[in-house]
Symmetry: C2
Subunit: 221 residues, 2 copies
């Protein structure tokens, strides 16, 4: 009996110029050698404490990125998704502010609009679509988008992130009320945005205790 | 290199007397032979089209139940959760009306209040807690509870199911408005509940096209 292939794949998502993008890498081995694909790899029993640990290792090794937010998306499986045989891939999605990817500056990492990539190997097209759908729906009732907004941000900047993910304009007053309700942000002492045309705006950040814990909005945005 | 163990487990949930219960079976083999546990088993490459298919096979073989609703919960993994070695278990949760379990009448299936079972093998306690949390949170903004209400139900019966899952009383008027908004129910022609003390109430069912598709509530209940 041939062994079931056990892998992890990561959908690394970021916002660049208000556009949702996914990180792809050219595969360095068969199958699909040279083809752009999601970062992934086999589970290593001797190295990995669990599949989450495997996903973080893969990201570290292949993209040099430590994601501020990583969540299990779903597990994809079957005899046909991988030409090597019956496979189970436990997929995680990571949210990473663009500047973090930029400063990691890994040469192999390509950021592509989530709807763009065609001819992806395996079932990576389905996996990306599943991750984007999860992110968009969760954005409506959680703090999830904050993880794409960077270390610090103004409320207008955060609102634009929510709007970019939800694909709709939000009412400024009710958006701010929701943010207050969620009680997840704290002002950064005496830190203000260089206002540009506008007057400087207070900078905020996620409360430290919420860095790795999602906050849910009572009734949605 | 030892092979990674690939299994599926199913958290089969039902409501009995407004109490959320989980189906347990005594294990017929080692490890933990004779101990009550979630129905589960190894993925069979030759039989299973994917892990969902494996979960349905396990339920069929071990409980004789075809669940009206089955969703992937999460994948649990690591070197310690199964004494046989590094394992990956893709876990599904199933919602089944009590009368379906009752009429299947499988002698080995025991229904236990979800908070009750102690001394569960593997990480089944954590798995059950994860499934219950998912069900309770999804009940607030989806049609999920309908799958526990049976083939047909009155609106008061459906409201009690929502209340049992959410653990709070709901306002009758706003509950009915939400149900109308969701547009997921249809009256059963000329079918009414035997009213008992009350006058007979119209019976409803999920619209056929929604039987296997979750409907989301715009702003939550």
């Amino acid at each position: 009996m041939q062994q079931i292939l056990c892998t992890v794949d990561v959908v690394l998502l970021t916002l660049q110029d208000d556009m949702l993008k996914v990180a792809l890498l050219r595969r360095d081995r068969e199958p699909f050698k040279g083809v752009a694909a999601l970062p992934g790899g086999f589970i290593r029993q001797q190295d990995d404490a669990d599949t989450r640990d495997a996903a973080l290792r893969v990201l570290r090794d292949k993209t040099a990125i430590e994601p501020p937010y990583l969540e299990q998306l779903a597990t994809f499986s079957g005899p046909a998704r991988d030409p090597r045989g019956w496979s189970v891939s436990v997929v995680y999605y990571a949210l990473v502010p663009f500047d973090v990817i930029d400063s990691a500056g890994h040469p192999d990492v390509k950021l592509v609009g989530v709807d763009k990539p065609v001819g992806l190997p395996f079932d990576h097209r389905l996996i990306i679509d599943t991750a984007v759908a999860r992110l968009r729906s969760k954005s409506q009732y959680s703090s999830l988008p904050c993880y794409l907004a960077g270390e610090t941000f103004t409320l207008p900047q955060l609102q634009r992130v929510y709007e970019a993910l939800m694909g709709e304009a939000l009412n400024k007053v009710s958006f701010r009320r929701k943010m207050t309700e969620m009680d997840m942000l704290e002002p950064v002492e005496g830190a203000f945005s260089a206002g540009g045309a506008h007057r400087p705006a207070q900078l905020y950040r996620l409360k430290p205790e919420l860095r790795d814990r999602l906050t849910l909005i009572e009734r949605g945005l």
